[in-house]
């Protein structure tokens, strides 16, 4: 099955209790549909997913609803705090 890989980091990873999941690519043709699929499949994640999160596709931050392809790596994470 073709999938899109989704990674979670930091506080969000702890809140969801999981670091990574695979999503059927046909359920996630773009970033917004991926988010909708997540909320539908995991309604108890809603609150955690509604906090301010950065979205990255293939290790680049994206601010818009970009199209996704099988094999893409998506990441969701809270604002960064390094340095």
């Amino acid at each position: 099955m073709k999938t899109v890989q989704l990674k979670f980091f930091a506080r969000l990873r702890e809140q969801l209790g999981i670091a990574e999941i695979a999503i059927p690519a046909d359920q996630a043709p773009n970033l917004d549909s991926l988010m909708n699929w997540l909320q539908t499949q995991h309604p108890h994640w809603r609150e955690a997913l509604e906090q301010p999160l950065t979205r990255a596709v293939n290790e680049e931050v994206v601010n818009d609803n970009v199209d996704l392809n099988p094999g893409d790596q998506v990441a969701l994470f809270p604002p960064v705090t390094g340095g």
Partner: protein, 159 residues
Amino acid sequence: MRVIRVQAEAFDIQQEYDALCTGNREDGAVVFFVGRVRDMNDGDAITGLHLEHYPGMTEKTLASIAERAAQRWLLNRIRITHRFGELYPADAIVFVGVSSPHRQAAFDGAAFIMDHLKTEATFWKKEKTPNGNRWVTSRDSDQQRLAHWQQGEITDERD
């Protein structure tokens, strides 16, 4: 010459400085910044820090920041080293060092890299306090610092 490293191991500041200078006769200015773990934050004692990052994206982001700095100022050498994992008060977390023929480019270039690292590089700090562990939240002041670089008030640049 650009060197970007993301590592669990401690780094040696003298070695970092030497690497900016060795064989370098064209640059009259070296500026570096070292970020360290404090023993206090938001009024609480900090006994340690866990630093998480996004392997792959972190290195890519740091390289992109260095590239943007090098396009704006003449920075012949750029070195960025950032640690992850377990750290303790007084440990060095990050080293950002640059060399340039002239000091203003070196000061501005190093500050630009550090300001963008704070808001873009995929690191997250979790503090250990006597009352338990907590994720550090981002500061608005870090975001506001970026405006400083966008308003064009800096007299750069590469000439």
